[in-house]
């Protein structure tokens, strides 16, 4: 069988993620590492309340989605997982790398609410590691009896990555957050930066980073194990 003979299957996007993660940098590297809330706006004809009846009985759901930011990146058999320090290679199928033969993502997240409005159905979820505008292709209930495997072992990814960094704010940043009066923004910044989103090979304390969260650009740097948020500013939207 030549490569061009490979069978293809077409999937339809059924919903779109609305999330504060506006770019790849800063997105948690696994689901449920944060308490950040996002929404899944279902698209017609998949936004009928009937299709969700009974889902409210489940505390968690599986999201199958498209890695839309990396879907045109050609896969390679080996990748460098961040949790191995970015310098050891592993087979792509032994990782959950976004660059893989099919750009298919899988995350279990907490289901907070199923909102039914005139415009259809929107799911509110907690802990999603999904960028804004991520296309959703399936939603399934998390089945405890089937999905919890008590004797499963996880090799090089046995334990959860820990929150590594203490997060502090400059007085400028703190004043700005206070003027916003949105605790969610502060909480999100703390959760995202404490997970240390820097690439593994960075350790320059003078280096400045910028993360686009919600409508804000967060500028920070990292000295020892402290993330210092220096400035927060609104991102200018083009009209």
């Amino acid at each position: 069988m030549s490569h061009t003979d490979l069978q293809k299957t077409e999937f339809t996007v059924i919903g779109i993620v609305e999330s504060g993660f506006k770019e790849k940098f800063g997105v948690p590297r696994q689901p449920r590492l944060t308490h950040i809330r996002s929404k899944i706006r279902m698209l017609p004809p998949f936004n009928t309340p009937d299709a969700f009846e009974g889902l409210e009985q489940f505390s968690h759901i599986w999201l199958s989605f498209v890695f839309h930011q990396t879907q045109n990146t050609h896969w390679r058999p080996k990748v460098r997982p961040p949790r191995l320090g970015g310098n050891r290679k592993m087979g792509v199928f032994a990782t959950r790398s976004t660059v893989r033969p099919n750009p298919l993502g899988l995350s279990a997240v907490r289901l907070i609410a199923i909102e039914t409005l005139d415009s259809g159905v929107t799911l509110v979820v907690e802990g999603a590691d999904l960028m804004d505008n991520t296309p959703i292709i399936d939603i399934k209930p998390y089945l405890p009896f089937s999905d919890q495997i008590p004797d499963a072992t996880g090799g090089f990814a046995e334990n959860a990555p820990e929150a590594k960094l203490k997060v502090v704010f400059s007085s400028t940043a703190q004043d700005y957050l206070l003027s916003l009066g949105k605790q969610e923004i502060t909480d999100t910044i703390i959760e995202v930066l404490s997970l240390d989103p820097r690439p593994a090979y960075h350790s320059d304390p003078e280096r400045q980073y910028g993360i686009h969260l919600f409508d804000f650009n967060v500028q920070w740097r990292c000295a020892e194990n402290v993330a210092i948020v220096e400035k927060i500013s609104p991102v200018n939207h083009e009209i």
Copy 2:
């Protein structure tokens, strides 16, 4: 947005399941309800051993696959899950029904072996609820820290379906199994029938069922809580 505007994403089949389940009837309704082994034959260019390096450290893997037998069946917002007796309806997204907006399946199975041969890579797995020839589109490690959610609740599907039927063999069937000398066939028949694969609304003790497992047709009926295997015969393959 009209239906024809919906965005599509194309996925490539990366492997094919080789399983004793030759037809839908009899396939376990969730993964890991049996100890039955199947294989996943990876297709080129996805069958390079490099792509699997490190996967042997994981006891279980996620398979994302295409429900190829029902992929052309039109989805409906409500379905009748077998575990609700087949007479109560639920929203399709609250179930793992094979008939859903996208024919995407998800199963966690035990990884037994990664076989590397001249012809590429074949995975041996245990407990798959997958039909023969099922197209695989992704393989990911099962990550205990991320995929085990101890506080998850499962509504109407909280507990695993139990083995319901005692399985007995007629002397004809038993003699035939002895002549084959393959314990795997006997074990498979017992595991499959004990899960009671009948549709929920069947209860006629005279009714005959046939299941195609491996290269055999298994004829049986069910009286009270006993599955009686009456005859096992080879399926004739056309040349």
